[in-house]
Symmetry: D2
Subunit: 337 residues, 4 copies
Amino acid sequence: MIVVMKQGASQAQIDHMVERVQSLGLKPHVLVGVERTVIAAIGQERPEQKEALESGSGVAEVLPILAPYKMASVEVKRDRTVIRAGSLEVGGARVGVIAGPCSVESQQQILDCAHAVKSAGATALRGGAFKPRTSPYSFQGLKEQGLKFLAAAREATGLAVVTEVMATEDVSLVSEYADVLQVGARNMQNYRLLEAVGKSPRAVLLKRGPSATMEELLLAAEYILDAGNPNVMLCERGIRTFEAHTRFTLPLASVAYLHAKTHLPVVVDPSHGTGHTYLVPDMAVASVAAGADGLILEVHPDPEKAMSDGYQSLNFEQFANTIARCRKVATALDRVM
Amino acid sequence: MIVVMKQGASQAQIDHMVERVQSLGLKPHVLVGVERTVIAAIGQERPEQKEALESGSGVAEVLPILAPYKMASVEVKRDRTVIRAGSLEVGGARVGVIAGPCSVESQQQILDCAHAVKSAGATALRGGAFKPRTSPYSFQGLKEQGLKFLAAAREATGLAVVTEVMATEDVSLVSEYADVLQVGARNMQNYRLLEAVGKSPRAVLLKRGPSATMEELLLAAEYILDAGNPNVMLCERGIRTFEAHTRFTLPLASVAYLHAKTHLPVVVDPSHGTGHTYLVPDMAVASVAAGADGLILEVHPDPEKAMSDGYQSLNFEQFANTIARCRKVATALDRVM
Amino acid sequence: MIVVMKQGASQAQIDHMVERVQSLGLKPHVLVGVERTVIAAIGQERPEQKEALESGSGVAEVLPILAPYKMASVEVKRDRTVIRAGSLEVGGARVGVIAGPCSVESQQQILDCAHAVKSAGATALRGGAFKPRTSPYSFQGLKEQGLKFLAAAREATGLAVVTEVMATEDVSLVSEYADVLQVGARNMQNYRLLEAVGKSPRAVLLKRGPSATMEELLLAAEYILDAGNPNVMLCERGIRTFEAHTRFTLPLASVAYLHAKTHLPVVVDPSHGTGHTYLVPDMAVASVAAGADGLILEVHPDPEKAMSDGYQSLNFEQFANTIARCRKVATALDRVM
Amino acid sequence: MIVVMKQGASQAQIDHMVERVQSLGLKPHVLVGVERTVIAAIGQERPEQKEALESGSGVAEVLPILAPYKMASVEVKRDRTVIRAGSLEVGGARVGVIAGPCSVESQQQILDCAHAVKSAGATALRGGAFKPRTSPYSFQGLKEQGLKFLAAAREATGLAVVTEVMATEDVSLVSEYADVLQVGARNMQNYRLLEAVGKSPRAVLLKRGPSATMEELLLAAEYILDAGNPNVMLCERGIRTFEAHTRFTLPLASVAYLHAKTHLPVVVDPSHGTGHTYLVPDMAVASVAAGADGLILEVHPDPEKAMSDGYQSLNFEQFANTIARCRKVATALDRVM
C-alpha cells in the first residue's frame, strides 16, 4: 500500500499516518519527495487497510499494490482450471458451446432446441426456468416445470444443462436438475446467492454485472471459491456504456485480461453482449479468436415467437452457420471445437 | 408502438408485420413515407410486444410510446406520495434527513451517532447490520446484534431506523426492528427480494443500481408496488461512469426527472454519490437545492476508525455544519428542514 | 512515481528498472514487500516518465504521485483566480450569469435577448456566431455578421459578449468582437486552438469535453496558461454516460473537486448538461448551491422557433424565474448574484 | 418523424403541432391512441426538424425514423467502397495492415520500422509527425522533418504513408507527403478540419472519438464526403467507459454495425483500443475475425525507449507473430492478408 500525503502535509500528519500503518500490521517506509511525502506500507495487504488509511487527515490518496482477490488469482494457482460438467468442458483446448433458448417455453421447444444445437456442435444446453425480468409484467419462466423439461432434454441428447438460479432458496432445487448453475448479471453481487452456490456441488457460470469492474467480478468469484466450490467459469456478457446501437458493449479484451489475472475459464455471451441477432455471428467468431474458453448463445426455433429475447436469438440455421465459422477460426488457431 | 420498417422492406414483410401487430391485440396503421414505411400500433402497450415485434423480418426498429411502469407513474397517480415511518417523513414539504454510520459497530457507537445526528437535525437513523461487501474478506456486519443496537438507539432518541436487508430470508427479521427497509444498489434487480419487501409492512428505500436506467429503477419500484407495498422511496446514489476522481458520478438531474415521471419521493445519497468526505457537504447542499425529498448521509464519530466507508463519512461537526447549510437553502426555497 | 513490479519479477528486471529510473533523473528506492517489490522514484515527475517506465519488462503498473498540470494547480497558486471581462466577473463572491441564445439569428433576436437577460440579472451575453454542428446539413451560424450583432447588443446593454471560436484562423477576428472566447466541448483537445486562444488578450471559457477526465480538462487549461493567457474559466457542461433520459449527465461534484485542485473559476452549463428545458431550472439552482462561480444558460425569445437547441432553451420568463430562485440560494449561502 | 404527445395534451396543443409539422414541409397523420396521441410526420426528414418539434408545448418526445447521414449510408450507395492509396487497399477482400511507431523519432527509427513491418506483412506505414498530446509538456512530434523521414521510408519500402493532420493550416503540407491523412480521435468533431481534409486529394482515416456515437462518427464522415472526398475509412479505436483495466474499451461489434449501415471501410486500432501491449495481439486477431477491413497497429523497435505510447506498442517480433496469427484467421474466413 502506498499512502500519498497531500502537498504541505504537516510532520504531525505524517507521523500520525506512520503510526496508523504500524497499527494495521504493516511496516512503514517514509519517502520524502521533492514536492510531497509518500509512505510505503509493506506487508500483507487487506481491503480494510486501504479504507482505514484513506480517511486519514493529510492523506491525498492510497494506492493498493496487490489485487484484493486471492484464490481466483494466477499468483496463487498458476495452471488453468479446467471445468467438466457432463458433456461440457471449458478451460482446456476445446471451446465449450452452450446454446439454447432464453426461456424454456415447452417440452417440445426445448427438445427441438437441444437436438438442433447438439447436431450443430453445442456441448451444453442453456434455457431459463427461473427468469429475472426487468418488468414485473413480463413472463417469469416455467420454474420447476421448466427444470424438468431441461432434464428430459438432457436425457434425450446427452447435453449438460446450464440454467439460472435466482435465489438462495432455489439453489438445492435447481442443483437437482442442472449441471451448471448460472448466476445472472443482475445477481453478480448478490452475496448470499454467491455463498449458496459456493456450497452446491454444481459448477457455476458467473455472469459479469453490466457495470462491474474486473476486480469486482473476480471478488464475486472469490465468494464462491471461498465457500468451497472451485468450479467457477466467468462470463463476459457486455457492459453498460453510452453506446445505444447495441444493448450492451461487449469488451473482448476481457478475455486476455482475465487469462492474465486468473486461472478460471472465461465464457463469452455475444447474444446479450450485442442484443441484436444480426451482430451475434461476427461477435461469436471474434470471441473465439480472442481466446474465449467457451461461448453461450441464445438459439430459438422461431425467434419471432420467442417469449423473451427473440431480438437477439439465432434460429437453427443461423446457429449452425455461426458455429461452422467459429470452428474454422478455432482450427486455424489450434483449438478444438 | 411504432414499427419502423427497413428501407426497401418488401410488401410481404409489411403485411406480415401488420398481422403480427393485430395478433398482439394492437391496431395497425400503415404510414408509407418517402423513404420507408412505418406501422403505428395503437392500443394498450405491454413490454413483451416490443420484444415480439423487434425480431420480425424487415423491421429496423420498434419505438415504444408508453412508459412500461404503471403504478409508479404520475400518469396513474398524480398527487405526490408522502411516506411517514416513525420520525421520518419524505415526500412533503419537509426534507427528510437519514444519517448514521455505514456499519453498526457497537452499542456505544450507534447511540453516540443517534444522539449527535438527532441534535444536528436528522429525522432518521441509518446503520448497516447486514453488510453487502465487495470482498468476502471484509467486515460483514453484526447482523441481528446490530439490529438490536439500532432498536435501542431508536428507543433512546425517537429516531426511525433505516437499515439494509440483503436477502428474502431476512426480511421478516429486519422488519421486526426497522422502520424502513433499505434495498441496496447491488440488489436493485434482485426480484425475489423486491417481492419480499413488497409484502412487508415497512416502508422501503430503494437504491438505484450504479448502471440502472431510470426506467429500470422505476420498474424495480413497480415490483414492490405490485406486491402490495405503496411506500417506496427512490434513492439516487450515483452511477458508474468513466470518471475516476469520484467513486460514482452523482447525477442530480435525476431528482427533477423522477418528479416529472413518478409520484414516489426521491432521496439523494451524497456519501456514496461522491465517495469522498470533502465532496459530500457541497453535494448535500446541491441535492436540497435540486429538490430532493430527503438526504441519506454517512456519519461516524471517528471516520478514520470506521470499519467501513470511513473515506466518505462525515464526523459530527462536519455533519452539523452541512445540515446548517442545507437548512439555509431549504428555507430560501420555502421548504422545511 | 511508484513502479510496481509483477509478482515473481526477476532480480535482473528489478535492477534494470532501477537503472531506468536513474536514467530519467529520478532517485530510486527499492522496497521489497511480502509478495512483490516496488520501486519508489523520487524527484520531479514529468508525464513522459510514466510512459517510459510502464513499458519496462516485469513492470505491473506505474502509479504517478503528482498531478501532471502545474500552472493550473492550487499547489502552485493558492489564491483563487478572479476573471473580469467587461461586465462579467467570475471567481469572486459574485456568481456570474452568462445567458443568451444558442445561435445569433438576427439583430433583433440578439438585442431582445440581451435586454431581457440583463433585466433578469445576467452579467454577460452568450450567442453563437460560428456554430459547430454534428451534421453538415444543420445551420452553421451567421459568422462575422453574427459577431457584429453581438457587438451591437453589447453597445446597447453593456453586457460582455461570450462567443465560441472554432478554429485558429478565426481567433483574431472573434477577439475583435468578443470579451470572452469560448472553446467548445468538441474542441477541448484541439491543441492548436488552445495555443491560439492562449495568445489572445481575451479571457477564455473552456468547456469540458463530454468524455474528458478532470485531469485532461486541467491539462487543456494548462495549454492555454502555458501560452501566456492566465484568464481561463473552466466549464462543466455534462459528460457522456449510459443515461439516455438526459442528453448528458451533469456531475456537479466537479465544482468542489476543481475548487480543491485548481485556482481557476468554474462555470456550470445546465442547458447542455441536461438537454431538456424542464430540467434546467432545478439544475441551475443546484449549481449555485454546489458552489459554481458562474452559470451559462441558453435563453431564446421563442424556443420553439430557435434555429438550434430550442429543446433546452429557457424563454424569458423561465429565465427570470430561474435566476430569482438562484439568487435566493446564493444569498442564503452568503454569495452575491 | 414521430411526434409523441404527452398524456393529457390538449386538443389545442395537438392542433398546434399539426400546423408545425406542416410548416416544416412534412405531412402529418394524427393517431389517437388509448393513452396518448402521436403525430406521424411523413416526408423528407432533416435534423433541424427534430429540434424544431421537440420544443413544442405538449410534446413528450420526437422519434426520428431516418438516419441523419446520407452520403455515408448504405441506403444511398449499396456497394462497398474500396479505397486504394499507394500500397494500401481497404474495403475489399484483402485486410489492410497499417503499422509503425506512434511518433516518428528519427530517420533510422522509421526506416527500421518500415522494413520490419513490411517484411511481416504490413501494407502501409504509420507514424506521427504532428502529435496531439494531452499535456503541453509532452513530446509534440518532429513536424515537417518527420514527414520527410516518412516519405523517405516510403521511397525505401514502397509502403504507403498514413500520418495525422491536426490543423487546417497543415492539410496541404501533410498532403504533400502522406498517402492517407489521419484525423485523430480528439479531432473527430473539428469540423473545419473535416472540411479541409474533405477538399484534399488524399484518402482519410477518420478515428472515432472516445465518446462519439456511431451516428456522430458517420456524420463526421459525412462532412468529409460532402466536401468532395469519397475516400474515407472509419477507424474504431475504443471508447471511454468505466473500465479502468484497459485505457479504452474496444467494441468490436462496431465493425458489423458499420458494415450494416455504411459502405465505407472499417479499420480497427487494437493498440489504442486496449492501451496495453499484452492485450494487443489477441484483440488484433479478434478484429480480423470480426470482419475488420484493416488493422492499425503501433510497432516500435524498442518500445521501452519509445518517446510516446511505448506501453501499447509491439516490438518487431510481437508484430510478426500477431500478423501470422491474424493471417491464419483471415485465411480460415476466406479473406486475404
